[in-house]
Symmetry: C2
Subunit: 320 residues, 2 copies
Amino acid sequence: MKLKAMYSFLNTDLNIVEKELETAIQSNYPLLSEASLHLLQAGGKRIRPVFVLLAGKFGNYNIERMKHIAVALELIHMSSLVHDDVIDDAELRRGKKTIKAKWSNRFAMYTGDYIFARSLELMTKFNQPLIHQILAHTLVEVCRGEIEQISDKYRFDQNLRCYLRRIKRKTALLIAVSCQLGALAAEAPKEIHERLYLFGYYVGMSFQITDDILDFIGTEEQLGKPAGSDLLQGNITLPVFFAMEDEKVKAKITQITPETPPDEMKEIISLIKQTGAIEKSYAVSDRYLQKAFAVLEQLPKNKARNTFYNIAKYIGKRKF
Amino acid sequence: MKLKAMYSFLNTDLNIVEKELETAIQSNYPLLSEASLHLLQAGGKRIRPVFVLLAGKFGNYNIERMKHIAVALELIHMSSLVHDDVIDDAELRRGKKTIKAKWSNRFAMYTGDYIFARSLELMTKFNQPLIHQILAHTLVEVCRGEIEQISDKYRFDQNLRCYLRRIKRKTALLIAVSCQLGALAAEAPKEIHERLYLFGYYVGMSFQITDDILDFIGTEEQLGKPAGSDLLQGNITLPVFFAMEDEKVKAKITQITPETPPDEMKEIISLIKQTGAIEKSYAVSDRYLQKAFAVLEQLPKNKARNTFYNIAKYIGKRKF
């Protein structure tokens, strides 16, 4: 089953969200509108809005209220993508042209800031202090995750806990909070929005681990960049930790620098695959997925719960 | 009279704000703490916290409440400074080492994001929706100002209104909002916080115009960069508008590119000064100052009003 088919019953509401997204990034500056629209049309799975809406189904669902949370969280995600593209080394550009590549670092940064500020403006529609506290705390943690990712680069002696904390902050938290704020906007009770947070957290962890696996096993065409790019950039991900349990492979990995030539990288990636690191990583991803399913069991049975189950299964097992 | 002496009666409270600022940017990451502290210690006049506290004196002043607004607004200002330092052209670095220069573009950007997120966390202590609406709207406008500044560069045909709107968004708004939110945090009534906003706006406009004048008449030592740097970077400021009224000077100015050699810039700056553009710009700055004073007259008489008067006078007339 395709991902989009799983939540086709949300289509009307997702179209409303999509329209709101377009409205939110409108501005009087052709350049800014162009850049933001470029980003919006680059698409993405809109997984955060989907999670927000599904979580809202566990409370008093009202799309006119829900849409603001959905749009705000997608804008926050978008702004983090733009900031991710602000780089120092032009060679690190992704497969396609980024805002930074098309315009400039400075412009990409302010476009990110602008999109983010617009999301805060939307959030002021909610007067529940808890919503703002959760969101603000999450933003601090996400920034910490980004900074950790920079300072942990090429630190081959870091432990697994570093990695798990980093992907929690970088990815899982925003998914967890999409679920929780969706539930809160629909005035769901504490035991519901806290469980949904936990569900989102587990799914997010599984999602990022799968992403980190795909960086090794995907083709250049699927990834839009050569396999092993994360490692070449110094990001130590789960498969690398498992591969480094083999001392010989570890000796090779710890020699990696941004200048390691593609041939040598190909050889190292092949070695990493031979250690069984990919399978072990999938097992960890799966463990998070099982935890996500267990949390779902404790939630009221409804269509949204069923959909959450299918999406989680898809995300954890996806092949690209 | 020195600036600091004007508000010495706030010293105890400003020390509390300073301590809170240090606490707010603490983190578990040595690199991040170092970068943030580097920025904090670079100092600045803390004019926003001073304005917040003074505005609070027009309501129910409680430093334990006021300090959060003061710290949040200073953090927002600081984060905008870090982002300002994210540049594409390394030559454009300022007199001293910036976070971007000491570390990297990417690190500077996330440090800015982190400091900003921390300020949002502090703001969640306030449950007044109006405070959040004003702040969020201001942030959007500030970003617009930054983006305008990029897209208006070297556009010598822009009109004066472009300039005034840009400095409103870039500078005056945050000062205006420091006054307004200070008053709101102290639960001052509408006619008070709206007047304080207007006062801050006029002072901010005067402040930025003076700043733009100083870029022409300051020495390299005072400015930390060669005089006329704004113009060399393509920022069309008020003295430039006045100077371009002279067709001969305009012909020279519109030839400026980032590659214009220092000798030629010196000649152009000298020409600009001869047109009387500096004096005319001071007159505009003064007009804003007079408007600020007129607003003050409509506020209740107290020590804070007196201090606002002295600070405004100082800011508008300052020589460096």
